[in-house]
């Protein structure tokens, strides 16, 4: 069952096709990565999912039904990349206000806010103002405010930017806990190591179009380039063959790239017939970072303005 299904979404601005015919679906209870370089259209996409923008065309299904911004945004928690809070408002009051805007009753909101403040050791902040907080502190507060109403879909745009490793881990753990409790999480970022660590599935968008879609494992498989790392007791003498090419060597390891039409077994056989003493043989899958760079590199570094009809 998918919690969210996007069908042929389009959103054009005066000078840019911000989102140009994107479709994908997000399974329930998954941690989903929305990746893309700056200006790829991620924020526009997220704003459509959160009901802030209406798509020019295409449709959004939320829990199998047509997305109804008024009702469904109550089940969504959105932490935008541009963090924002009222600077002059007291923190406790502010958290209550934002929770109640998400449809919580006052008593529920008070209970929830207190619970989270205890969890994140923020009890003493209640009567302080946001002005008094450091950047990292207000980041934590922003996260708490986003999850207060127990959204079924949680959208986090660069949630770790500006956080130190300790607080980063604190929030990461909470994200995992929420996912275990059944919250679906959309995670928008361009920090690939975090995606690899956290996400089950990803979509990569660039220039308003979807380039990749699938589980992290599958995408790595799909993008692999038949590169293997072979370990030897002693490195064999170089020899020429048409089964593979040696891409590099380090210590007792050779990195080989298998040519089209051959399989790993042929490589092993080739080494064995030459009497090499193999002690390990591993496939090297590309990191998401490599895939990202490779996929995005082909296009221009910065998006150009274009004419939109």
């Amino acid at each position: 069952m998918d919690i969210l299904e996007l069908q042929n979404l389009k959103k054009y601005y005066a000078t840019q096709k911000a989102v140009d015919d994107i479709s994908f679906s997000i399974p329930k209870e998954s941690i989903f990565g929305l990746l893309g370089p700056n200006g790829a259209g991620k924020t526009t996409l997220l704003r459509m999912i959160t009901g802030i923008f209406y798509p020019d065309s295409g449709s959004i299904l939320f829990e199998g039904k047509k997305f109804d911004p008024v009702k469904d945004i109550l089940k969504i928690g959105y932490m935008p990349e541009e963090r924002g809070l009222y600077k002059k408002m007291k923190i406790g009051e502010q958290a209550l206000y934002l929770a109640m805007l998400k449809g919580m009753s006052r008593t529920d909101a008070v209970r929830k806010v207190k619970e989270w403040f205890v969890k994140f050791e923020m009890q003493s902040w209640w009567n302080k103002k946001v002005d008094d907080l450091s950047k990292g502190m207000s980041q934590k507060l922003q996260f708490v405010i986003t999850v207060l109403h127990e959204p079924r879909l949680l959208i986090l745009d660069e949630p770790f930017s500006g956080l130190d490793p300790v607080n980063s881990n604190l929030i990461k753990e909470e994200i995992f806990k929420l996912a275990q409790k059944g919250t679906t999480i959309i995670f928008s970022t361009h920090r690939m190591e975090q995606v690899e660590e956290i996400c089950d599935r990803i979509v990569l968008v660039n220039m308003g179009k979807k380039i990749l879609d699938g589980s992290v494992k599958q995408i790595k498989q799909d993008c692999k380039e038949n590169i293997f790392k072979v370990g030897f007791e002693t490195i064999p003498q170089p020899f020429t063959n048409n089964i593979f090419e040696i891409a590099g060597s380090k210590d007792n390891f050779l990195t080989v790239k298998i040519n089209d039409g051959y399989n790993p077994a042929a490589v092993l056989q080739e080494f064995l017939t030459r009497g090499a003493s193999i002690i390990s043989f591993n496939e090297i899958l590309p990191s998401l970072n490599d895939i990202f760079i490779k996929k995005v590199e082909d296009t221009k570094f910065s998006r150009q303005f274009e004419k939109v009809n």
Binding site: P80, R83, Y86, M100
Partner: protein
């Protein structure tokens, strides 16, 4: 609806709890009352007494000049333009032997301006003396002349303007209605700016703090905008009510304290001075206006004032919100974008100044019907009591319709502007947003 209510509540509470709000709400009426009390007190108590030395070689003026509480005339023989100061006179009035053409000048010599009222009084005395002399030389009996001069027309009749429209008649007092009209016009003018700017600043704050996106993922932009506008309206009404209560309360306290004193003064001036043709009008006016003010058509003025105060604010507030939403970090931008809004308000103010004096002139009538200027101009007309009912209804209906229209248009700009960062928005672009389908 529940969400709008939450937004209204926040806007209202954060503002009303603000220290600046509390201070300005309490201090302003105190200043106001203090100012009025001080000027009333000054006008009664500390009138500058002037002693004037007159050189009157023909001896005509000696019998004719009447000293009063303010100006005393004396006719010392040896005082001249050079020594009047040492002799304790504040001015020296030199009347030549012959005065029968434009070339002859009667001059008042002093080391300071005596003020326009004093000069007028002195001129009045001279003219009266010349006139009296002319009557006497033409064989008019001195007794008859005195009895004619003693006529005080004010005692003989009371002048009143009656406005008759169909079978409805109302007594009008143009001076008073001018005052009330002008006052309420200015009050609406000022509050439009104060609260309009508050809306704009509030919107800018939300945009700059980047909280707009967080909130808009919970409420619709329109709800956020209306919540803010209504919340600030509630703040305005609260402030107005507090002011009214404080001003009415304090001024009744002030009058009870001032009263005995004022009355005494007024009476003494009445008996001793009025006959002499010179009087201190301030104290009399003070008592008269109090009674006259109560006669104004308050039953019409108060509800209309509240209506135009609120509806006028609502008409302009959404426009201010729209401007706030397109401004980026640069406050200069706000200035230039505000111009299209402030121009009609300032223009209304100019029309209002005419409308208060001539409530039924065409420009006043038109100005009070068109929603852009009606809140200010109509309030200047209403105290006259001569505005036909149909004009009031047309004005009110068009203002409400105008408010709905401006709000709809402003909401379109607001919705786009509030999430748009780092881009300078031109009026042309805003125009495009207006006509874009949602």
């Amino acid at each position: 609806m529940k969400k709008i209510w939450l937004v209204i509540r926040r806007e209202y509470l954060t503002r009303v709890r603000n220290k600046t709000f509390i201070l300005s709400t309490i201090l302003l009426p105190l200043f106001f009352i203090g100012f009025i009390a001080a000027s009333a007190y000054l006008s009664i108590k500390s009138v500058d007494r002037e002693k004037i030395a007159v050189e009157d070689n023909n001896g005509i003026f000696k019998n004719s000049f009447q000293s009063d509480k303010v100006i005393t005339y004396e006719f010392p023989p040896d005082v001249n333009a050079g020594n009047f100061k040492e002799r304790g006179y504040s001015a020296f009035l030199k009347i030549p032997n012959k005065y029968d053409s434009k070339l002859d000048s009667i001059s008042l010599i002093s080391d300071k301006q005596l003020g326009i009222t004093a000069e007028d009084k002195i001129k009045g005395q001279i003219n009266a003396a010349i006139r009296d002399k002319a009557f006497l030389t033409n064989n008019i009996n001195k007794k008859i002349l005195d009895s004619i001069n003693a006529i005080d027309e004010e005692d003989l009749y009371k002048f009143s303007t009656v406005i008759k429209q169909g079978d409805k008649t109302a007594v009008s007092n143009s001076g008073l209605s001018y005052g009330i009209g002008f006052g309420s016009g200015i009050l609406i003018y000022i509050t439009l700016f104060i609260y309009g700017a508050a809306v704009m600043r509030g919107v800018m704050e939300e945009k700059m703090n980047r909280i707009a996106e967080v909130i808009i993922s919970s409420v619709k932009p329109f709800q956020l905008m209306m919540g803010k506008i209504i919340g600030i309206a509630a703040v305005g009404i609260t402030q107005l009510l507090i002011w009214i209560v404080l001003i009415v309360g304090l001024s009744s306290v002030a009058t009870t304290i001032l009263s005995p004193d004022t009355l005494q003064h007024a009476q003494s001036i009445n008996t001793s001075v009025a006959a002499a043709g010179a009087n201190n009008t301030a104290a009399l006016n003070f008592l008269n206006t109090k009674n006259e003010i109560l006669q104004a058509p308050w039953a019409l003025i108060i509800p209309c004032f509240l209506f135009y105060f609120i509806a006028g604010y609502l008409f302009y507030a959404s426009l201010f919100a729209a401007v706030g939403s397109v401004v980026n970090e640069d406050p200069q931008e706000a200035q230039s974008l505000m111009l299209p809004i402030t121009m009609p308000i300032i223009l209304s103010f100019i029309i209002m100044t005419t409308a208060a004096g001539k409530p039924d002139s065409p420009i006043a009538v038109w100005g009070s019907l068109i929603p852009f200027s009606s809140p200010i101009v109509m309030m200047a007309r209403i105290p006259s009591g001569s505005v036909p009912a149909w004009q009031i209804s047309v004005s009110m209906i068009s203002l409400v319709a105008g408010f709905v229209l401006t709000t709809m248009l402003a909401a379109k700009i607001y919705r786009t502007g509030i999430l748009l960062y780092g881009k300078k928005v031109t009026l042309k672009e805003m125009g495009k947003w207006l006509f874009r389908k949602s």
